[in-house]
């Protein structure tokens, strides 16, 4: 049977992007430890509404750790202290009765706060639109088994493709860099035979777009620590290699000028 917790929450409240924000203190009582972190916030919101206060906006949707919508800083750590876990899958049994929990939105210049704990992560979509795809118009595909792909290659691509696009890597990074997100998408496609024709065009376009919005990587590795899907830092190395190479490969030849 579940135990219950009494907690003090310090939650960032901010009415709009250009409005000043501040921490507000709340107490929640009798939270069952089987509840998820977001269910704990649901309960708080119900209490706020009962008392006539405007509830806290926080991002969430699937609550299965796959859609990537949720994400808040819990005691200074993106998605909280539990390794490889999105905050929707973090459960209150990981906390102790009497704890104070500090809850903030993702902090990054590229992710402006929209309200309370909700931020705008659309810069990540711009990176994908720049080159995070294979150009195969519908109907143009050859038979799926025409190109065999070694199992290990497919598995590695899948490891990279598991990224849920939550932005925890950016929030955790002292530079607010988006290298882990970009590298995950890039390596998913660059490692597969289907991704080869556009490999260097993709590498240059995605990285250059990323640089417009986000800080630069200085190899802290905080992104990996925060990633709910434990995306490997190796992909950043692969990306850097392909990016450097792309600058050579993509140079126009004399005949093309």
């Amino acid at each position: 049977m579940s135990n219950t917790l009494n907690l003090t929450l310090q939650i960032w409240r901010q009415e709009a992007t250009d409005a000043p924000g501040s921490f507000q203190s709340y107490t929640v009582r009798d939270v069952p430890d089987d509840a998820s972190f977001l269910e704990m916030l649901d309960t708080l919101n119900e209490t706020l509404i009962d008392g006539g206060s405007v509830p806290i906006e926080f991002p969430h949707d699937c609550r299965e750790g796959i859609c990537g919508t949720c994400g808040v800083m819990v005691n200074g750590r993106a998605h909280g202290q539990e390794k490889g876990t999105a905050v929707c899958q973090l459960h209150m049994r990981k906390f102790n009765d009497g704890d104070t929990i500090i809850i903030e939105p993702w902090r990054a210049t590229a992710f402006p706060v929209l309200r309370d704990l909700v931020v705008d992560r659309s810069a990540l979509d711009d990176i994908v639109a720049a080159g995070g795809f294979v150009s195969v118009p519908t109907g143009n595909a050859p038979d799926a088994n025409e190109i065999p792909i070694p199992k290990d290659v497919a598995e590695s691509a899948m490891d990279a493709a598991s990224c849920i696009g939550c932005g925890a890597c950016v929030a955790a990074c002292p530079n607010s860099a988006a290298q882990l997100f970009t590298a995950a998408k890039l390596w998913h496609l660059n490692s597969l035979p289907q991704g080869q024709p556009e490999r260097y065009r993709r590498s240059e376009a995605m990285v250059d777009t990323m640089e417009q919005f986000f800080g630069s990587c200085t190899n802290h590795g905080e992104c990996y620590e925060a990633c709910p899907k434990e995306i490997s830092l190796d992909f950043i190395a692969y990306m850097n290699r392909d990016y450097v190479k792309s600058k050579l490969v993509n140079r126009k030849l004399a005949s093309q000028r």
């Binding site: 509404i49 299965e64 899958q89 118009p137 519908t138 595909a141 799926a144 065999p148 199992k151």
Partner: protein, 656 residues
Amino acid sequence: MQETTEDASALRGSSLNGSSLNSQVPDGPMADKWENHKFNIKLVNPSNKRKFKVLIVGTGLAGASAAASLAELGYEVEAFTFHDTPRRAHSIAAQGGINAAKNYPNDGDSVHRLFYDTVKGGDFRSREANVHRLAQVSVDIIDQMTAQGVPFAREYGGLLANRSFGGAQVSRTFYARGQTGQQLLLGAYQQMMRQVGLGKVKLHTRMEMLDLVTKDGEACGIVCRNLVTGEVTSHSGHAVVLATGGYGNVFYLSTNAMACNVTAAWRAHRKGAFFANPCYTQIHPTCIPASDEFQSKLTLMSESLRNDGRIWVPRNPDETRAAADISERDRYYYLEEKYPSFGNLVPRDVASRNAKTVVDKGLGVGPLKNGVYLDFADAIKRDGKATIEAKYGNLFQMYERITGEDPYARPMRIYPATHYTMGGLWVDYNLMTTVPGLYACGEANFSDHGANRLGASALMQGLADGYFVLPYTIGDSLAPKLGTEPVPTSDPVFQSSEQGVRDRISRLMSIGGTKSPDYFHRELGKLVWNYIGMERTEAGLEKAITEIQALNEEFWRDLRVLGDTDTINSSIENAGRVADFFELAELMARDALDRAESCGGHFRVESQTEDGEALRDDEDFSHVSAWEWQGEDTIQVKHAEELAFEEVPLSQRSYK
């Protein structure tokens, strides 16, 4: 078969108005229908496609694949999602896989077999021609997604791996670990984002459709609310496509994401689109049981787990021993005993109802005695822990995270939960609703799954509609409109629709009651689950209608929505969605009451075989029930589309 009483028939108000629906199914032999149809429908010349604007609402598998494909063909496309990015759509959460009649394993699969299985699995309540087309294009989907870089599972030789899934007798399911939906959605999303980058798709994020706009009976646009600024705006096009998913969240506790709702489809229904078979809902057998009253949603554990897990409960209702200590003799493997040939792999509706039966008998397990065991001990003994981990590792991890229990050491606890809705907007063979110019794709339409959907068929249908059906069929209604401009958003039809949306928001904000939208949603969900859930009775459904109406009345009297409308305000978003769920729930009950037979996910206690299996009434109910909106205070009128079964002979499903 239960005789209908006069009272019930008055309550139901379903007297057919005489008209039957034209499904536009083409003539000719089943295998040639789609080819013939593609030849016979109107085409839009490539250089004219850019003169047509198509609005697509929803950017999941169906919406994103349609947006990408139509933009590639040259149409001007605007795509709308209420999420912050299209990649959040709930297609992403599908775990198990996607079916296709590739027959790569050489085990006897074919287009005809997939077609046959789907019609039979749907308990003979789907339209044969649509299902056949679905089976035909399934093979192209796998080719398309693989070419786009979807990392499907592979064998050591580098070729694609397949598995058997959800009761299929052949291995036709392609998968990407337990994240097939995620990988397919990302594939479609990337393809659409390419078109966004090229400027061919205009993407509107955080925009919720709140009304369909029609002029002279035809769809001409939509009205949306910007979820960040609260601004209400009109958008006009030559055609509107709804790819807005299903309505499973009417149950409150479901495996759907929190934001899934029926609003877009329901608003279209109120503007003339018939809503078909709302009582066909799928209860998925393998979900994690609820742990307490605060629970906000239920989590699905992929049905692929049933391939290796054995389902059982203790024979003794007062059993106190831990699962591992209970001897074989004292275990009731109820599916294996009742269905020796299919065992744990019986279709979803059968597995779910049997779980309910044993739990209702008091044999349930877990602290609330609300689950059954799904046990991997034998599989681990047989194949080794490493093999099981490679197959299901991420699912086991997820289970452990949610329950705090280690499924390698003790059996999982599972219980059915609402997962998918087979009903939806009625569409013809072209996927067009009863409103000309309005189309519905994916889970939002009713078309292909009949009364029960087979596992790994939802991803298939969403992508079939978006990639390979709509891009052809939409031309048929667009071609005659060549040379016409979309209705300007300054037209009175848009202005009055916008005003209606603003008035409704003001009305919800101004009630000033005491209870939150979530409170009403939770209470509504309990009614729907109790009366329109796994088992339905005439008395229960009549009660449901009365109680839903009473709660709805309370909603409009005692709702409390705080905050402002010109900012992010999830309370006002939810309030509008819950209001629509009330109207839908009532129609579900009426439809379930009207359909006095059992079929697939719709089980009427009055209509069962001696063994307690679903008993169809083909004489009276071999039809699609499509309901037409009649206004706020009038009960919908039912139209019937008669179903003919020419290729797959009607038979009683048996999985013994």
